[in-house]
Amino acid sequence: MSKTITKVIAGIGIVAGIGVAALPLSSYAADVAVSFVVKPTLAAAPTICASAAAAAAASNTVTTVDCTVGYSANGGASVSIKGKDAVLTLVSGSNSIPVVTGTPASLTAGTPAWGYKFIATTPGAGTGGLTATITNYAAITAADVTVGSNTAPVTSALGTFTFAAATAITTPAGTYTDTVTISVTPAAS
């Protein structure tokens, strides 16, 4: 019994010793006093959109548009989306297409609605960035919905919004539009 315990303790000690020695620790860095001022900077690309149906959409269909957004920041920042104003429907004169109800995986032709989803294609070099994924279609809102954020510098984060609009056979003809705002905002310093 004593021999067994001694052997087990010895084994644990060896494992602990080797484990401690192998812990991933970094080495001292030399102090070099180099100093210059870098102003807080935000960079963002204008969204680049590509409509899947460049021509006017027929009634009783689903039309999608992909818009790519990118940003870089040397301090904390966030990216968010919202409707530009209080009118969240797609409007054509006195006619409108409502925002989607719930969070469906896809829109259905014949049921007028519109919504968006988001996928982060490149989180960006650094910490954080565009990491959120909204897999199902959601309604655009008047309040900002955050799709990415960083607390440390991030470079060249990229993501794609997919906007979809479904029409019914009874949807009146017209040019339906709405404006969304994608904001890149520094964190409170």
Binding site: I12, A16, L25, P40, S51, V65, G75, S189
Partner: protein, 310 residues
Amino acid sequence: MKSKLHILLGVAVVFVLGLGANLNNYAKAEDQGATEASSSDIAVSPSIDKLGYLKPGETYERTMTIVNPSDKTTSFKVNTSSFWVENESYELKWGVSESQYGKIAEWTDIDKTKVHTIDAGETYKFDYTITVPEDQAGGAQRLMVTIVLGSKGDAGFVTTETHINTLVYANIEGEIHPDAEILAHSIQNFSFSPSVVTRSTIKNTGDVDLDVKYKLYVADFWSGDEAYTSEEDKILMTDSTRMYEHIWSGAPALGVFNVTQEITLMGEVQTFTGVTIICPLWLVLLIVIAIVLIVIYFIHKSSKRKKQRA
């Protein structure tokens, strides 16, 4: 008996050597601060502008630098609004504000209808002025200046605008009442992960935005040698409570440290001290198992002797 003692002694030596090799091996972490815009990004600087104290009746000129590193001409408009924070995590909100702290947008001379154009590869200087009214009462003011970019390509039924928001902080001179209090402070005493964390919660009870300086000093518990030093400047906005975590995320995986945090608030320095032990979970489990086995060993040995005597 002697051979068992030798084995235990050997094990202890291996353990201590392993421990010692690493206790003297932690890093002084370096802050990473570089930034680089991608080829298509419009870079706006400064994204945060702290104006300090402004005098009523005075006009202040500001310049914003906008760089277009792409190979295409880009145009933009400029808009203004105000901003504020919600909750202790300082979640930023913005828009038109009726708050007494958002009036600065009305005093800012920016033509919101003008379309500015930047050629490919060019740097554009955008100037604007802020004129503080003579009769403006003292206190904080916050301005958001937004660069509004249109979209490119075929957007179909959706028009997208990309907004690059920048924050401008100012305090107006006059009858002001700067006041704040530290509501809570803690230093994490034990951590399984390689990090040292302090948390502080400060409430601004006055009417001006305040600068808070956080200094984190970490020293080796045994030698007293400096392991890490970090200073962070944060703003504490009026009508807000801010919880801030000062973290040394590059700490070694094993060690004992004296932790000191200095918080400079309204010219006064408050110091908090504590000890943080960092030890990975697997090592804690091994130590506990070893202690249990040693206790069992001696109990067993003692009972064996009693039997032999009987």
